[in-house]
Subunit: 232 residues, 2 copies
DNA sequence: CATAAAATAAAACAAACGTTTGAATTATTT
DNA sequence: AAATAATTCAAACGTTTGTTTTATTTTATG
């Protein structure tokens, strides 16, 4: 009865010809711009020039649509992270630099911003916001399970370059890095405000380099002194 | 016709006796736990054991209620930030340490977590999430105007201790710091997951100290090398 | 005690939401 | 060309939302 991958329409044509693809692209943009709850199916289907029922027809529900939007973006990003980390480790005989590891972690998500079509930019803020937004538990667990996989690969790698730090200390600092990254992705617009327009998200590569050097320095910081003498 | 500060009931009794105060406390908790849109007036008024119409009666609208919740939390935090910065500058004859400045910036919001009653904890995630969540423009502008005021005070102070950095560079890095802070405040729960339970938001003071040392190191980082030879 | 103001209560409001339905249409296969 | 599957469409569904209205109770005031 219901749908099944629309025959072909894979990579030949220029842009989303099928209704299904149009829904994905439009919804992705609107979700990112206005937030998930604030984006109605009516807004999506109108913008996609599709019928109101089409989302439920193709995806079953609004949540399922969102889930698919996430999946098609997250998986490649995390795969690229692991690929870059592997390359860095091989090139450095198992001892990659802190910058190289952080680059493998930060570049793939931030590169989405410049790559692909214009619309793909918008997903960045969505991904960034996922770190903070309270969402339907199932969707969020899917997302964070994938991230946890990544962390379990990166934390040991980082620990090898930072032998003075215990594992939970590495985890805590990488948590801070994730915060900076998520903030840059989701609220990058505010950056130009805070810097009086001198920084902007247009300089995608510049921001990445600065974030890496900032993060590398933060990861390498000496432990806070005041914790050793005092209690806790 | 409408309300006007309920006579007295200021500081004598133990906890929120007036309906108005109960609404503020309950709504603050629910907003933080479930998100703003996801929290209905019915949920709020039921939990506060008040009538459905009471929010509109006392505050005029749901947005106005949210606005008041924010205002009563943000103002003291920002005032405390400026106070701590003033103290730090006086104690150091106008040349406070990087740690001292960052402490003035980070401690007040994070201290909300431990201070006050149990419920006040929840506002932290709300404040943290405000940095990323797409919200009604007017509310958000109110919030960020206050933050911009703070930035305009802190950025020059930071620049004095980091004379090698241009102003927009300081702004960019402080932007990263805000990201780490917001992430810690809004998604602190994930920290214990990422660290296998070895870090948690219970150690409020510990996290603050670590965030300060992480941020200080990041702020002091040398400029990314790859930017000088290449383009951009 | 009477009177007005403030607060609570119950009910209804219109608007918007995600979803479902069944018929009409288009595309594909036999 | 007939039959079957896939898609599109308009309409309506039942909820839930924030808000408003009207009535009743409580509280304070002269």
């Amino acid at each position: 009865m219901k749908y099944q991958t629309p025959s072909s329409a894979s990579s030949e044509d220029s842009q989303s010809i099928t209704t299904r693809d149009r829904l994905l692209d439009v919804a992705e943009r609107l979700f990112a711009q206005r937030g998930i709850d604030a984006t109605s199916l009516r807004a999506i289907t109108t913008a996609a020039e599709a019928n109101l029922a089409s989302v439920n027809y193709y995806f079953g529900s609004k949540d399922a649509l969102f889930s698919e939007i996430l999946a098609r973006r997250i998986a490649p990003v995390n795969a690229e992270r692991l690929r870059l980390l592997d390359i860095a480790e091989k090139q450095a005989d198992g001892s990659p630099s802190l910058d190289a590891i952080l680059n493998a972690f930060l570049a793939p998500p931030l590169h989405l911003y410049a790559r692909d079509n214009e619309d793909a930019k918008h997903i960045i803020s969505l991904l960034g916001r996922l770190h903070t937004e309270p969402r339907a538990d199932e969707l969020k667990k899917l997302f964070f399970n994938e991230l946890r996989e990544i962390l379990q690969r990166f934390i040991p790698a980082l620990q090898r370059t930072l032998p003075d730090l215990e594992q939970h200390e590495v985890a805590r600092r990488l948590f801070f890095v994730v915060g900076s990254m998520a903030h840059l992705m989701s609220a990058g617009d505010e950056l130009s405000l805070a810097s009086d327009g001198l920084c902007s998200m247009e300089d995608s590569e510049v921001n990445l380099q600065h974030l890496i050097s900032f993060s590398a320095a933060g990861m390498s910081a000496t432990q806070p002194k005041s914790l050793y003498p005092s209690a806790e």
